[in-house]
């Protein structure tokens, strides 16, 4: 790790850390990115680990394949599996990493909305030591993050969820596999002890703004409410009003906003079902 950080500091903006390479090497071949030095992270110990205790820590080199297969995520953290398993094909998921997905800062990233819904923090290390950021505030524009040139993102970390919590992730594309999201939605809900009313909610949207977007008005609309069909629909409408999608070759802005409303409603329904809501 020390050697990687030293090399990162020495090369600065001339260097890039190489994790899965599924974005970096393609961008370099297209001439979109010129790096004079690549620092491969493959043999840096510890970066590929998933640690689950009171908090969950994902090393930067944890692959999508590893997330998909983690038995500890089959319960309340299921959205992590749901988001990882719809990225690319198997050849991509076998090598593409969580750290790469975060620093690449694509607004259409699939795992990032789930991590934001879990209030994840990310840690970067440079010559001056470690810096930790809420993931929600880490990206400021497509491809732009708070990470300085030469700084290495080492891990993402989030607290385990309280009882009566669930997560869900939904993605719409033009086909079912090997597709960039037209829209993706991550939801996290915690109900009260009687499983009647929502005490906390996160609704996070991908591919409908320059960065992954928290739909705060939609989240607020659920606070203290039973997750009824009507409340779920209202939250979907609120989220659609908060996002700012573009029209491109894949879909129109209007269609993307409609997808947001529908997917938010469905993701919340899935959360309610998973918790076993009594109301």
């Amino acid at each position: 790790m020390r050697e990687a950080v030293e090399l990162g500091a020495r090369f600065g903006a001339d260097g890039r850390f190489l994790a899965g390479g599924t974005d970096l090497l393609i961008q370099m071949r297209r001439g979109q990115l010129r790096a004079r030095h690549l620092v491969s992270l493959h043999r840096v110990p510890g970066l590929g680990a998933v640690d689950i205790d009171d908090a969950v820590t994902l090393g930067a080199l944890v692959t999508h394949r590893r997330l998909e297969r983690e038995p500890g995520f089959r319960g309340a953290l299921r959205a992590l599996i749901e988001s990882a398993e719809v990225v690319g094909g198997h050849q991509i998921r076998n090598v593409a990493t969580v750290g790469g997905n975060i620093v690449n800062a694509s607004p259409a990233a699939d795992v990032v909305p789930v991590l934001i819904a879990l209030d994840a923090e990310v840690t970067c290390v440079g010559p001056g030591g470690e810096r930790t950021f809420p993931l929600e505030a880490f990206a400021s524009a497509p491809g732009v993050t708070a990470r300085r040139p030469g700084e290495l993102l080492t891990r993402a970390r989030f607290a385990r969820l309280p009882p009566n919590s669930a997560t869900a992730f939904l993605k719409a594309g033009r086909r079912r596999a090997m597709e960039i999201a037209l829209v993706c939605v991550a939801a996290r809900v915690t109900l009260d002890a009687g499983r009647e009313r929502c005490v906390d909610a996160r609704i996070v949207l991908g591919a409908v703004a320059p960065t992954t977007l928290r739909a705060r008005a939609a989240e607020l609309s659920l606070r203290g409410q039973p997750l009824t069909e009507r409340a779920r629909r209202e939250a979907g409408r609120a989220a659609a009003a908060e996002c700012s999608p573009i029209s491109d070759v894949r879909a129109s802005a209007r269609y993307r906003a409609l997808l947001v409303a529908t997917l938010v409603e469905r993701a919340l329904a899935r959360c309610a079902e998973r918790i076993g809501q009594t109301a």
């Binding site: 690549l38 198997h90 050849q91 090598v95 596999a177």
Partner: protein, 160 residues
């Protein structure tokens, strides 16, 4: 650019090479070693024709740097027929007529083999998902899916 020594294990055989750091596994397999069963096409990890196994896992050789393969085992289509006997997935592709032009087939077979190693009794839907990263422009996929079902010992449904 300076060449860096690389000992590369391919299909059980060690090769001592010296390669420039920017060269991909695909390029080294084909141009340095003459192992041309691994095909080259999109070079953007979209089509899957360059699929090889790296420590048993399917990867796109077009976006793996050769130097990343140090101390790892690479398997190409040439390494699948141990002792000259075809692998069951290869035999099934022949028996069920799953090959047309053939260009995607080495990658298709290696992706299928890696998937079956982890899930020996997949459903048809699981096979289609497992091969999502491998494009074929000839067959329409049906016979490829049938061949993988057959290699897994499943009954292949009669098609119209």
């Amino acid at each position: 650019m300076a060449r860096i020594p690389l000992s590369l294990r391919v299909n059980g055989e060690a090769h001592d090479l010296a390669v420039e750091p920017h060269r991909t596994l695909l390029d080294v397999l084909r141009a340095e070693l003459g192992i041309t069963g691994t095909k080259e096409n999109c070079l953007e990890a979209e089509c899957g024709v360059c699929t090889v196994l790296l420590d048993g896992m399917a990867v796109n050789a077009c976006i793996v740097l050769a130097l990343q393969c140090r101390e790892r085992e690479v398997t190409t289509i040439e390494g699948l027929a141990a002792g000259g006997a075809l692998h069951p997935v290869q035999q099934a592709f022949i028996d069920l007529g799953a090959v047309q032009c053939g260009y995607c087939i080495p990658g298709m077979i290696l992706a299928a083999r890696a998937y079956l190693d982890g899930n020996p009794t997949p459903s048809e839907a699981e096979i289609r998902e497992a091969l999502a990263g491998n494009l074929c422009r000839c067959t329409g996929y049906q016979k490829i899916v049938d061949a993988v079902l057959s290699a897994a010992g499943a009954e292949v449904p009669a098609r119209r």
